[in-house]
């Protein structure tokens, strides 16, 4: 199969790479760019571990080919805060013990980021509904819901 040239912006950095048409976006991010924060849990679009933002909308990077992202702006977990300076959502996950093994966490964070940008998340039911496309096997979701609730509250209190 002949490789194709693509241009993508990932976490604000522009990349030009030559990829095989069948290369999954998840594999491109992880193995071509070395951004291993995005995890692959099922490769059939159910578990949500590979969730990234493509042009501002959450998407399953295991259900996209890298060539489909040509020209797109992608955000991964590496675009959020750093170890020394985590963002409010990451801090809320830390404070509320919203992660155990940490495998679903990058996908959860990216989905929650997308939800918080777009929706008021006024009730826990709304948060649960929003997160229902991301599976977690460790936490029973209780602490994740509390963390997102806290992050939403903090964002509301912050001066705009």
């Amino acid at each position: 199969m002949s490789a194709r040239a693509i241009k993508v912006t990932v976490n604000g950095v522009a990349y030009e790479r030559s990829v095989e048409p069948r290369l999954l976006l998840a594999d491109f991010l992880r193995h071509t760019l070395g951004l291993t924060g995005t995890h692959v849990g099922c490769e059939h679009g159910v578990c949500g571990a590979c969730t990234v933002l493509v042009d501002g909308d959450s998407a399953r990077s295991c259900l996209m080919f890298a060539v489909q992202a040509d020209g797109a702006r992608i955000e991964t977990v590496e675009s959020l805060g750093t170890i020394g300076q985590m963002n409010a959502l990451q801090e809320a996950f830390h404070e509320h013990h919203a992660l155990q093994c940490g495998f679903c966490t990058p996908g959860m964070l990216m989905t929650a980021t997308d939800l918080m940008r777009k929706y008021p998340l006024a009730s826990d039911d709304e948060i649960r509904e929003g997160l229902s496309g991301n599976l977690c096997r460790c936490t029973g979701y209780e602490h994740i819901v509390r963390a997102v609730r806290a992050a939403v509250g903090r964002a509301k209190d912050a001066p705009s």
């Binding site: 291993t36 995890h39 959020l80 170890i83 830390h94 155990q100 093994c101 599976l135």
Partner: protein
């Protein structure tokens, strides 16, 4: 001030709600999972797996695959005939047959998904392309899918040399159960079924063997809970000394027992890397995980429980058939899950007469292995259903019948009919606390009201006890090839004063890097941030097994306590010379050794420099290495108990079962970190709710897997799991060092029974019993249709 008084005064690290030290790396995409490793020149594996459940393997034509683009090598079983020794999960159990465990299927395949050939290529994409080009001539053999049929004489045999499909049969008994049942005025009896499931960690299994040509050695990164066991077994299979195979479990994305066994793929990757003298990597996809990761449950239980007229249990009899799948999993044996069902059936109750018989039957399905709770979720489901059935029969409230039958405070230690001994644990206290939290009396009143309005609303209680932190006197299979009863901690203060504590356990979500640091820092007198925990590495300690069976805090925490205390004494002795005072006047805290009641102190760093670096500063006897290695054995283990209560409402139109409230009251002894205990309970309950309502591995009569993806195998999302409430009853354990009881599995043990009882309670007006889990809408529809006829 005495040292003890000082210890009592300062803020405790053990028991504190400390945020996890693991979190920052995992929250910022810097976790180090096996598949994240970038290894120069690594080759990738794809397996050609069986699409037959039971067949003889004829000629395998690998020529086209060998010639495919990017392919380095193709292996079949014949290529390992001389280089890999088959392993067997041996045991002294009478009549037990230990099946051979090989990297690839040899002569026969025994389940759909069993690896037959391994393709090694430059990328996984190339390897998968080539896998399709392998031609295998199968000779199909008769189906062996139904465990009852497979146990019969004359059934087609999976392992001909065993002479039977019954890999092991055992019986536990006390008293005269037949006579006691015959004399019992009240008896309840049913046939229960707990369907097969899979642990389903979100991270699929993966491993990479990195080969060191300079010394013919392997460093093997694997998503395993048991690096010590994997090191020992690979060393045996490849006939290498232990120092030439190092097994590392880096960040592991959940496991729940599914990563606690040795897998053929792990042997394959090590053997291939060793033979090719190249790094070799395999990452399972989700389909492979469904087909070939150790599954769980799958028991049929016929049980009868007899009572006197006051509702006191007299005798319990049970016959259990466990469908264990195709192999006796290494190192746990096929006895693991079904035998523990009969071990725990008597539960937290006084039942004088008991008989539990069990058969572990091989079928042409993926092998079963450890899964969170091992046997206890099924045992609790059966016993707690029988308790509710008896309560209904006797006109007693489900709460009351349990209170009448619990082992009482004055009975501890109490030995149940299977031989397991309970030490003091808050059986009744948990039930009472759970009822208080959920307002049990109020819920019962509400139930009466909503029932008159035609709604299906039910409340279900499940109480259980479990053996945790198991020591060397108890083995899941007598004579099995590993020691599960001890753990070692090595605590070192290096020449900079930094503290490193190394363990044989392997945390994979439990937060042990945080909780073990809490234990070490408290007993050493160090600052929490100065303590580094090393785990998940077979080279960390000489011998260790890993993290499973709710053991790590009890065993590793006990070893940590011993080792940290020994190192503190060495620090204090050296500091006594520096401060020119008696050791008894010194206290170690916050990384300093202080003359009690004064502001005179030296830092750990200063003590370390004096010991290691500054020649002549200390007399010879005070210059011993600031290190200690201690092994802890809790001998028998300890008892953890809990009560779960679920309140459910069933939609009469869709038969959706909505869990409205879920309360757990648990006694895990002394809590190291309440944040983490809550998280462990929540996660366990969510998996238990999965077992009760959603999760089921389905094989058809031919042994074909029908639930090979997350579209067919339903995992609860945030919408299916209700808010979870946890009450802690903290009673100190009399038998373990530090008073810790294990608590990683309990959530999964109680929840299926609580939900089953709640659903049965909701449908009680229709006389429907819930004796099979998961209770899917389809099963419920059939039960309702039958009841309405």
């Amino acid at each position: 001030m005495t040292e003890q008084a000082d210890l009592d005064l300062r803020p405790k690290l053990i028991g504190a709600r400390i945020k996890r030290t693991e979190d920052p790396r995992l929250l910022t995409g810097l976790g180090n999972f096996v598949d994240d490793r970038q290894v120069a020149g690594v080759l990738h594996v794809a397996f050609r797996r069986s699409d037959h459940a039971h067949a003889r393997i004829g000629p395998i034509d690998t020529a086209a695959a060998q010639a495919a683009p990017g392919v380095t090598a193709v292996f079949t079983a014949a290529d390992f005939e001389k280089t890999v020794k088959p392993l067997r999960a041996t045991s002294r159990m009478k009549g037990y047959y230990a099946t051979p465990i090989r990297p690839l299927a040899h002569d026969k395949v025994r389940y759909v998904g069993e690896p037959i050939a391994g393709i090694i290529a430059e990328s996984r994409y190339f390897a998968e392309d080539a896998a399709e080009r392998i031609a295998i001539a199968f000779e199909p053999l008769p189906h062996v899918a139904d465990p009852a049929e497979a146990a019969q004489r004359g059934a087609s045999l999976l392992h001909e040399e065993a002479g039977t499909n019954v890999l092991v049969a055992r019986e536990f008994k006390r008293g005269d159960v037949d006579a006691a049942l015959a004399a019992a005025p009240v008896r309840v009896k049913a046939r229960f079924r707990m369907r097969r499931r899979t642990p389903l960690a979100l991270e699929p299994r993966a491993c990479v063997a990195e080969y060191d040509r300079s010394r013919d050695a392997l460093t093997f990164y694997s998503t395993t809970q048991v690096p010590g066991i994997i090191r020992d077994s690979i060393a045996e299979a490849l006939d290498l000394p232990g120092h030439r195979i190092r097994v590392i479990a880096p960040d592991v994305g959940g496991a729940f027992g599914g990563k606690a066994s040795l897998y053929p793929e792990e042997i394959f990757v090590c053997a291939a890397a060793h033979q090719l003298r190249r790094p070799v990597k395999w990452t399972s996809d989700r389909m492979e995980d469904f087909a070939a990761t150790g599954q769980a449950f799958d028991e049929i239980i016929e049980a009868e429980l007899g009572f006197d007229r006051d509702g006191r249990a007299l005798a319990l009899a049970a016959d259990v058939v466990g469908d264990v799948g195709a192999y006796s999993i290494y190192p746990w044996t096929a006895a693991l899950e079904p035998v523990q069902v009969v071990s725990f059936l008597p539960g937290p109750y006084r039942i004088e007469h008991y008989r539990g018989r069990v058969q572990a039957v091989a079928t042409a399905k993926a092998p079963t292995g450890p899964y969170r709770g091992v046997g206890r979720p099924t045992a609790t489901f059966v016993t707690e259903r029988l308790m509710d059935m008896a309560a209904a029969h006797l006109g007693l409230d489900p709460k009351e019948i349990r209170l009448r039958n619990f082992v009482r405070a004055e009975d501890f230690p109490y030995r149940i009919g299977s031989g397991i001994q309970w030490d003091r644990s808050g059986f009744a206290e948990c039930l009472t606390a759970a009822c208080d939290r959920i307002d049990y009396a109020g819920l019962r009143q509400r139930q009466v009201q909503v029932r008159t309005a035609g709604k299906y609303f039910g409340i279900g209680i499940a109480s259980y006890a479990e053996l945790t932190g198991i020591g060397s006197r108890i083995s899941v299979a007598p004579g099995m090839p590993i020691n599960t009863g001890t753990e070692t901690a090595t605590v070192t203060v290096d020449s900079t004063g930094a503290v490193t504590a190394a363990f044989g356990i392997a945390s994979h979500g439990q937060g042990l890097e945080t909780t073990l640091a809490q234990v070490i820092a408290e007993h050493l007198g160090a600052r929490l941030e100065d303590v580094r925990i090393v785990h998940g590495d077979s080279a960390a300690v000489a011998g260790g097994s890993g993290t499973y069976a709710s053991r790590s805090m009890v065993l590793a925490g006990g070893a940590a306590t011993l080792a940290a205390t020994a190192v503190r004494e060495k620090l204090v002795n050296a500091a006594a010379h520096l401060l020119e005072t008696a050791p008894g006047d010194l206290v170690a805290r916050d990384g300093r050794v202080t003359v009690a009641g004064t502001d005179r102190w030296v830092t750990f760093r200063e003590v370390a420099r004096a010991v290691y670096a500054e020649m002549g500063r200390l007399p010879h006897e005070a210059r011993g290495e600031l290190a200690a290695s201690k092994t802890y054995d809790p001998v028998f283990g300890t008892t953890t108990s809990a009560t779960h209560i679920a309140a459910v409402e069933i939609d009469p139109a869709t038969l959706e079962i909505k869990i409205e409230r879920f309360v757990v009251a648990e006694d895990c002894g002394r809590i190291v970190n309440p944040l983490i205990v809550d998280g462990q309970v929540h996660g366990g309950v969510a998996q238990g709710i999965g077992a009760a309502l959603y999760e089921e591995i389905v094989y058809d009569v031919e042994g074909q897997l029908h639930t090979g993806s997350l579209v067919d195998y339903l995992v609860p999302s945030a919408c299916e799991i209700p808010p979870l409430e946890v009450v802690h009853i903290e009673s100190e354990s009399p038998t373990t060092l530090g008073g810790f009881r294990g608590m990683g599995e309990g959530g999964t043990i109680g929840a299926p029974a609580a939900v089953a009882n709640a659903v049965a309670d909701a449908l009680a007006p229709l006389g429907i019993e819930i004796n099979e889990l998961p209770v899917t809408p389809e099963r419920l529809f059939r039960l309702l249709s039958a009841a309405r006829k």
